[in-house]
């Protein structure tokens, strides 16, 4: 199946020369939830803005269900819904009218059933005749989502949907995204909360300095997190792994003072006992033993750090 969203070598340089996107390529499959993780200023919002038509790409192509976002923008954009990061709403408009406005803007005939369904789902139906300025911050965020869904898009972009949102509303948002997935809506969300990506995404992309550093299934990433490392500190300094220990796929760390052994906590046998016995058999004396577990946060931080070092 061809991807619903295909980004190829997308670049964006602003007039002042700042390069916000440096050749981003990414395919997104229909129905998946992908989280783009990255620090502030990584290019997450620029990426979304470019796909949605708010900024113009410098080069590269983006297609939505095969429609190019520049040459076939009407077809492409009508498939996309965007929830921006900042709350931007006409304060004096009524909730129901602003949702109808959004639907009309995207070229769809008025359908009250759709608006009602969306508002009910977002717990906004009771507030439909309220002016937006009378709503709380959390409610306003829901209105933004309602507007983005008003034309029944197939791809939904959520730009930091839970920034500055309380725990309860955050959980609600996740639930909404989960429901949308059941309807077959593809969701792309940006976040810098790792737990958010862990909670709802199928795939996780890490973006920094305008580049995608990694895109991987969450399960695989979690698998990596399930891996632990055993650090064996030695009394003697090694220049190479002794051939007797070759089967363990060890690495030398700390300039030869430490043996590092990776193992999977989920497997039946971790091999630790045998390793340590063999290490003693080779005649190496142990000073200390330590285990470490990598989390998504570690993976993220190390990726971003390596990237920063490369840039320097």
């Amino acid at each position: 199946m061809s991807p619903i969203l295909s980004i190829k070598n997308l670049r964006k340089a602003y007039a002042d020369g700042f390069e916000a996107l440096k050749g981003v390529s990414l395919d997104i499959e229909e129905g998946e939830i992908i989280a783009l993780l990255g620090p502030n200023g990584a290019g997450k919002t620029t990426l979304i803005s470019t796909i949605c038509g708010i900024t113009m790409p410098t080069s590269g192509t983006v297609t939505v269900a095969g429609h190019d976002i520049l040459t076939d923008y009407r077809a492409a954009r009508s498939l996309i819904g965007l929830v921006p990061q900042e709350i931007a709403l006409e304060p004096f408009e009524k909730v129901i009218n602003t949702v109808r406005f959004s639907r009309g803007l995207f070229g769809k005939p008025r359908k009250d059933g759709v608006a009602e369904d969306i508002l009910k789902r977002l717990s906004l139906w009771d507030k439909r005749d309220s002016q937006i300025r009378a709503l709380s911050g959390g409610m306003k965020r829901r209105v933004l989502i309602a507007k983005a869904l008003a034309h029944e898009p197939r791809v939904l972009f959520l730009d930091e949907p839970t920034a500055g949102v309380d725990v309860e509303l955050r959980k609600d948002m996740w639930q909404i995204v989960e429901q949308l997935r059941a309807d077959g809506v593809t969701t792309v969300l940006t976040t810098h909360y790792i737990e958010e990506a862990e909670a709802i995404a199928d795939r996780i992309g890490v973006i920094n300095n305008g580049e995608i550093l990694l895109v991987e299934d969450k399960e695989k990433l979690m698998g990596r997190m399930g891996k632990k490392q055993l650090y064996v500190q030695l009394a003697t300094h090694l220049t190479a792994i002794p051939p007797e220990l070759a089967e363990y796929d060890l690495t030398l760390g700390n300039d030869g003072w430490t043996l590092i052994y990776g193992y999977d906590t989920n497997s039946e046998r971790t091999g630790i006992t045998k390793l340590l016995t063999d290490v003693a058999a080779v005649g190496l004396q142990l000073v200390d033993v330590e285990t470490r577990q990598s989390s998504l946060e570690d993976i993220f931080v190390s990726l971003v750090k390596v990237d920063a070092e490369d840039a320097a």
Binding site: Y14, A15, C52, G53, I54, T55, M56, Y73, R74, A75, A76, R77, S78, I80, L82, P84, E86, A88, L89, E90, P91, F92, E93, N97, R100, F101, S102, R103, G104, L105, F106, G107, K108, P109, K147
Partner: protein
């Protein structure tokens, strides 16, 4: 053509007009009534006639034009500037619409509002003075064209403006003086020769003169020139809008 989007923008903008109907209608009606009292009754009683028309009636076309021009500009400029200011412009930019449709929605609504107010002013003036319209068709044409062209001009100002100060700058510093000096309250022929010549560089003179001709059949400048002026101004605004459309100036980075 995404007609649904044009309608959505139009309805949205008109809704704002009706939300603030009292201030949208009462303030122009009140200020026009004041003009009638001051210029028509108080001063006008000392000036019997201008080019065969009673002074009270003579200022009606100018007053309608004055209101229509300022209303068209302020409504259109505010209409497009406000989404930029509060950030809701993101929705216009991400929607499957082109710039022409955005312009038609906003300019159409602003032109409608100013036409509506213009008609109210006209009706108000009937309460004060007795006027007859010599060329009704031309009158309507001039009124509608002025509404559209000045709404276009206002739209351009709204796109250009980076803050509220700039939004007020052009209407306040350029348009109001041009309209006041454009013969709203007098005939250009009443001016000293030097000022008559200078007035010929004021585009508003041609518009008011043409509009007045539609009422009374008398004009400061030939009616053909007036038509040319309004057509030229509309063309200029359309060209500017077309250029903005092509370059994405101040809208899309």
């Amino acid at each position: 053509m995404n007609w649904s989007a044009i309608r959505a923008i139009y309805v949205f903008e008109m809704a704002r007009f009706f939300r603030t109907l009292a201030q949208s209608v009462i303030s122009p009606v009140l200020s026009t009534s004041l003009y009638f009292v001051v210029f028509g009754a108080a001063i006008g009683s000392r000036i019997d006639e201008v080019e065969g028309v009673s002074y009270g009636a003579f200022i009606v076309p100018g007053l309608v034009m004055l209101t229509v021009m300022t209303q068209a500009i302020s409504n259109a400029s505010f209409g497009i500037y406000f989404p930029k200011f509060i950030g809701t412009i993101y929705e216009l930019l991400s929607a499957p619409i082109n710039f022409l449709e955005i312009v038609m929605g906003y300019v159409g609504a602003a032109a409608t509002k100013s036409l509506f107010i213009g008609i109210i002013i006209l009706i108000t003036s009937f309460l004060f003075v007795d006027i007859q319209i010599a060329h009704p068709f031309a009158m309507v044409m001039f009124l509608v064209l002025t509404c559209i062209s000045f709404a276009l001009f206002g739209f351009i100002i709204g796109i250009w403006a980076g803050n509220f100060e700039q939004l007020q700058l052009v209407p306040l510093l350029i348009v109001t003086p041009l309209v006041f000096l454009g013969g709203s309250f007098y005939s250009v022929s009443m001016l000293p020769p030097v000022w008559q010549t200078i007035s010929m560089f004021n585009p508003v003179v041609y518009l008011i003169s043409g509009f007045r001709w539609a009422f009374f059949g008398v004009a400061d400048v030939p009616i053909g020139l007036s038509l040319l002026a309004i057509a030229g101004f509309t063309g200029l605004c359309l060209t500017a809008v077309g250029w903005i459309f092509k370059t994405g100036w101040r809208i899309r980075q």
